[in-house]
């Protein structure tokens, strides 16, 4: 890069690549250059394949100004040698900028149209009969000089300037009118726009012909009447001087009904949802009751007393063995129905009875005890029945084996009857009292 090579470098390269001595390669290169020079002198050009073309070009006489001295120098006609490299070498040299290509510049054509032509085009496109002009102008049959409808074109520069100013102001006014109409349409219902609308109507009425003015004057009162009717509907007191305030009241009063309707819809939806939730809860509770068996008890109310009565009858029959004959059937049934009432009040209370029945059934198997030294009937009674006064029941059960309860031979095998057989209940005072009475009777 930016190295300078000379003839000797070329000769060295040739000698290395072609295995020639340096003087011989140097001689070859000198002959090479000499033939090119001869070709330029003879033919004026030398075309060498793989390198390029050398060409002699004549340059015409020129005059050059010397900037330092200010003098003009004349360069006579002369020749110069140019070299045009082959495309391959030129492309290799221009490789860093090879991606760029010439770009055609398309200049914009700007045509300045005169103002008069633009104005004529504008008014030709516009239909002045249908669209009212917002600018106050005198409507008359005679053509108006210098007006927007028929501008005097080409009279003088002052008229043109005046016409241009009027034209710009007309465009601004029409733009403002369009913006105001859009805001009125978008924000209809707001007090500001309601108050602005009559003013705009008046402004347009002034610009309209008489026929249209009458129509507008007829329409505007009806609108005001409608507004006042709305005011009377929603407000009790209507004052013509305070129309703007009442109109504000309309805006405020019109919104709540929509809100209340929405609230009703929301409430109805909430009620439906609540009903659905309640039904779901009821169904789930029923299902739970069904699976827990509680529902069966509730459904079979008629069957429940019989079962319980039978159970209690069995219990009571066992108790009745140890009780006196004074307990009649009426008391039995009363106690049974009292227990049934308790069962109805709380279903849980029925389960202990069932459990007791099962316990009784499991304890029906008798227990056997053998008399050893120090073992007495009272000790056995306390051991198995919880109270020593229940020894009489052991004596009653084993009366065949025991002749004298105070003297029992060792090794005697006694049967301990289940509690339910004699209605033994150590916690029940009556049962204990019965046992005491029986023991006293036996001891006598």
């Amino acid at each position: 890069m930016n190295n300078k090579y000379t003839t000797s470098d070329i000769a060295d390269h040739l000698s290395k690549t072609c295995n020639l001595p340096i003087p011989m390669s140097d001689n070859f290169f000198q002959e090479y250059l000499e033939i090119i020079t001869e070709g330029l002198l003879e033919d004026g050009y030398v075309d060498i394949d793989g390198l390029g073309t050398f060409r002699v070009v004549e340059v015409e006489k020129q005059q050059i100004a010397n900037l330092e001295n200010g003098t003009v120098q004349e360069i006579p006609k002369h020749k110069k040698v140019i070299f045009v490299a082959q495309e391959e070498i030129a492309a290799a040299v221009n490789e860093p900028f090879g991606m760029f290509e010439p770009l055609i510049l398309e200049d914009e054509k700007i045509k300045i149209e005169p103002i008069e032509e633009a104005a004529q085009l504008y008014f030709e496109e516009r239909e002045p009969d249908n669209v009212p002009l917002p600018i106050d102008i005198e409507l008359s049959d005679e053509p108006i000089k210098g007006s927007l409808l028929q501008p005097e074109l080409g009279d003088s520069e002052e008229n043109l300037d005046k016409f241009a100013n009027d034209f710009i102001s007309h465009l601004k006014a029409s733009k403002d009118e369009m913006i105001a109409q859009e805001t009125f349409k978008q924000e209809d219902g707001k007090t500001m726009d309601v108050e602005q609308k009559p003013q705009e109507v008046k402004a347009t009425i002034e610009d309209l012909p008489d026929d249209q003015i009458q129509e507008e004057t007829i329409e505007t009162p009806t609108e005001e009447i409608d507004k006042t009717e709305d005011i009377e509907k929603h407000t009790d007191t209507v004052d013509n001087n305070e129309q703007s305030l009442n109109i504000e009241g309309i805006v405020v009063s019109e919104t709540p009904p929509t809100k209340s309707a929405n609230d009703r819809e929301v409430k109805s939806n909430d009620m439906i949802v609540a009903l659905i939730i309640m039904t779901l809860v009821f169904v789930t509770t029923l299902a739970l009751m069904w699976f827990s068996g509680m529902l069966d008890n509730l459904i079979s109310k008629d069957d429940a007393p019989q079962e319980i009565v039978t159970n209690v009858d069995e219990q009571y029959s066992e108790i009745s063995l140890s009780t006196t004959l004074s307990n009649s059937e009426t008391t039995k049934s009363d106690s049974v129905y009292e227990t049934y009432a308790q069962v109805n009040q709380s279903t849980i209370a029925a389960e202990p009875l069932k459990n007791t029945n099962t316990i009784v059934k499991t304890e029906t198997t008798p227990i056997y005890e053998t008399i050893s030294k120090g073992v007495m009937l009272t000790s056995l009674a306390k051991k198995h029945y919880g109270n020593k006064f229940f020894w009489c029941y052991i004596y009653e059960e084993n009366r065949s084996k025991i002749k004298n309860p105070n003297l029992i031979p060792l090794g005697t095998k006694l049967t301990i009857a289940p509690r339910e057989k004699y209605g033994i209940d150590p916690t029940n005072r009556e049962s204990v009292e019965k046992a005491k009475a029986l023991c006293n009777k036996l001891s006598k």
Binding site: M1, N2, N3, K4, Y5, T6, T7, I10, H13, L14, T17, C18, L20, S25, N27, F28, E31, Y32, L33, E34, I35, I36, T37, E38, G39, L40, L41, E42, D43, Y45, V46, D47, I48, D49, G50, L51, G52, F54, V56, H78, K79, K80, V81, I82, F83, A85, E88, I89, A90, A92, V93, N94, E95, F97, F100, E101, P102, L103, I104, L105
Partner: protein, 96 residues
């Protein structure tokens, strides 16, 4: 002088094998081409010098269509003939 006459005259002046002569011509041209492609300059005494010059981007106008073209920058090979070569050309002109 075209390439055919150039090679013929070179073969007369430098009598070696044709294949060797062709290889010498080819190596000479490839050496100059490679060195110029690497933006190197070659100075040949009594003949001239090859240099690489950068031509900046510029706008040209096509006279036929009137279109203006933005030409990108590009590198060109510039050959500056030596004074002796120019003198020879000058003398040749005077002789004619």
């Amino acid at each position: 002088m075209d390439n055919k006459n150039f090679e013929k005259r070179l073969a007369e002046r430098f009598p070696i094998k044709k294949s060797l002569l062709e290889s010498l011509i080819k190596e000479t041209q490839s050496f100059i081409g490679k060195r110029l492609a690497d933006s190197d300059s070659i100075n040949i005494q009594g003949f001239g010098s090859f240099e690489i010059t950068k031509q900046i981007e510029h706008i040209i106008t096509q006279p036929e269509s009137g279109k203006r073209l933005l030409m990108p920058p590009h590198l060109t090979i510039n050959f500056n003939p030596s004074r002796s070569l120019l003198n020879k050309l000058k003398l040749r002109k005077n002789e004619q």
